[in-house]
């Protein structure tokens, strides 16, 4: 009899899902599946809407990553209005918005969702292992998290008009610049923010190095990595060309114009999941799956163009002799390098007078189809649209970051289950570890399923005959 374990809900994951752990005849873990409760009406809902509305409308996709969808859609719509190059003020305002989003998202994830695991250990009492516990024991850290998140959100508000459902990015440009007063408000706090970025990076790094043996075998596996990189190979979170590398760093493809992403990335559908399984076409669904997000980006780029983050990247790669790092839990360290990079970029932009420029819109010749990609906090985000001669959308296809990390998350859970499951019971320890492994990917199940709001996760253990042996829920 094959058995099945289901875990639901994973706390501190943005969204809701269910994990099923399948056991084989011998009672050993054979596979883990992360399922998402889904609502996929979005691509249809968009049909017929005017193209200029899409960057604002798509923010309804997800209450957690609205800015990433806003910018990816706006980039696609730049193409629809025939604009391949924004004016410098427009591009810099959009970048500032994006780094603000990266900053607040990474800070929130680290302090609110991850720090309890790192500070208290995976087996600590869940009553202590949460953000309130952190606030009680390490009050300065909790305050830091809140202040950093707020800083990023204020940048979003200043550039997009609102923290969610902003309208700042419009096809061909932006609708406002940054006033001197707004700029000075942010400049006043940037040094403090950078100091906190360095401290956060230190926590993530120390944690990883102290537990390296355990983590190397904690839901880790070799994988391909996909990311946008700049033409010169630098990390670029806002814009670039597609690069895919193997687990050892060989290039699978490089400097691909993302307008033709569909020639390089395909999506597989599996009967048990609403979430699709993207893969690199040339390698096929079996071997072509890949990871996206902070770990993939640090692995894929040749360098980072801000000095402190670049030093941190070198430091990060030194433990793998310059080769890609494939440790699941190294996502946290990579994420904190990006947090520092976002902070450095924000400082660089705030000191750029183009942000007060008034040349905000570019024009071009109308096109019928366009793709917009961005490196969202959780990874590469794809938006693809077709627009008819009446200016109405006829086709939309989205691949969200969490969907790209679908297979990797399943493997991470499988790895953890293989190591920590004994018998046919979901222990507290197993539940905790499954949560920790999934959380490393910072999945946004809300995005992945195009559902609204926040939902929680369940674990079930199922045998070969499909009988549920155990079930554990935590919200």
């Amino acid at each position: 009899m094959t058995k099945k374990i289901i875990i639901e809900p994973v706390t501190r994951v943005e969204g809701h899902g269910k994990v099923t752990i399948l056991l084989d005849e011998a009672g050993q873990v054979s596979q883990a599946r992360l399922h998402i409760v889904e609502f996929r009406g979005f691509e249809r809902f968009i049909q017929g809407r005017p193209y200029w509305e899409i960057p604002v409308l798509v923010q309804r996709l997800c209450g957690i990553c609205p800015v990433s969808h806003h910018l990816a859609a706006a980039k696609a719509m730049d193409g629809i209005v025939g604009v391949d190059k924004l004016t410098p003020p427009a591009e810099k305002i959009r970048r500032l918005m994006h780094y603000g989003q990266m900053f607040q998202s990474h800070a929130l994830h680290f302090f609110h969702l991850v720090s309890p695991d790192l500070l208290f250990g995976f087996d600590a009492d869940p009553l202590e292992r949460n953000v309130i516990g952190v606030a009680r024991k390490f009050p300065y850290l909790a305050v830091q998290g809140v202040m950093m998140r707020k800083y990023g959100q204020e940048i979003i508000k200043a550039t997009a008009g609102k923290k969610i459902h902003g309208t700042g990015a419009v096809p061909g440009g932006v609708n406002k610049n940054l006033s001197i007063e707004e700029r000075d408000g942010f400049l006043k706090d940037i040094d403090q923010m950078l100091a906190w970025c360095r401290a956060s990076l230190q926590i993530a790094k120390d944690y990883t190095l102290e537990h390296i043996e355990e983590l190397a075998d904690f839901g880790s596996f070799d994988s391909n990595h996909v990311s946008l990189v700049r033409a010169d190979g630098a990390m670029d979170l806002y814009h670039g060309n597609l690069r895919a590398i193997t687990a050892t760093g060989e290039k699978i493809f490089d400097q691909i114009d993302y307008q033709s992403y569909f020639k390089y990335i395909a999506e597989e559908v599996k009967p048990w999941s609403y979430m699709k399984f993207p893969f690199i076409s040339s390698l096929g669904p079996e071997n072509g799956w890949y990871r996206v997000g902070p770990l993939a980006r640090i692995n894929a780029c040749d360098f980072i163009d801000t000095p402190e983050a670049e030093a941190a990247r070198k430091d990060f790669l030194s433990i793998t002799d310059g080769k890609p790092n494939n440790i699941t839990m190294a996502y946290h360290w990579a994420r904190m390098i990006e947090l520092l990079h976002a902070g450095e970029k924000i400082r660089e932009l705030l000191n750029d007078l183009d942000l007060q420029g008034t040349d905000l819109m570019a024009k071009g010749e109308r096109r019928g189809e366009s793709v917009g990609l961005i490196e969202a906090p959780r990874g590469t985000l794809f938006h693809h649209y077709k627009v008819d001669e009446n200016d109405q959308v006829t086709m939309a296809n989205l691949i969200v970051s969490t969907t790209s990390n679908n297979t990797p998350m399943n493997l991470a859970v499988e790895g953890v289950a293989k190591k920590y499951l004994s018998g046919a019971e979901i222990t507290e320890g197993l539940l905790n570890r499954v949560e920790v492994a999934i959380r490393a990917y910072d999945p946004c199940l809300s995005c992945a399923t195009h559902a609204m709001g926040q939902m929680p996760l369940v674990i079930e253990l199922e045998d070969a005959a499909g009988n549920t042996l155990d079930r554990r829920v935590r919200d």
Binding site: G48, P50, W52, E53, V56, Q59, G161, V170, N390, D391
Partner: protein, 235 residues
Amino acid sequence: MNDTFKITIDGKEIEARQGQTIMDAADAAGIYIPRLCSHPDLKPIGSCRVCTVVVDGRPQAACVKPVMDGMVIENDTPAVLQHRRNIIDMMFVEGNHFCMFCEKSGNCELQALAYRFGITAPQYPFQFPEKEVDGSHPDILLDHNRCIMCARCVRASQELDGKNVFQSIGRGFHRKIGVNGEKELGDTDMAVSDRATEICPVGCIIKKRVGYEVPIGQRIYDKAPIGSDIEEVHP
């Protein structure tokens, strides 16, 4: 002048002139009566009933009801406000009004009224009707999801543009604004410079490709609630 007299709105005596509507007189006195179908450049038709006031115990549409000497009018009473709130509520649920991504947000009179009346979520269930979007005109988009049947466009096309682009067709729940019978907007002689293009109080008739150009914070009702301009007449 012997054609001026006094009327009373909510206990306040104001000057009125023969030939004025209640709304005209109230406007002149700096008293705001909410409205949607009424527009200063169009003949009033009294259809939306948002301007309902109570005159001598009876509900009347202030935009069409002429003033009479000694009239006693209730405008700002709990019962009148509730009545208007119900009407606005119905408009929200009968259409598909997604303010959070609508490009008219911040410039929309319906949304502004909802804010002014403190309506955050309608009390009636949403009906989510199926409505068309007509993108056939090169410069104007017609999104029936947001139509509230105020017929401003019908009148503006006839009275101000000397055309006849829109008509109100059908009855009851199926009533809608039609375009020259059953055609698409692109088949008509409508021009983007027509008054009918910009007179829509909601986001039903919109100029193409300019949505969201005005940033949040600088839109009409970001600055002051609807009706403030009238109330400023007599601060």
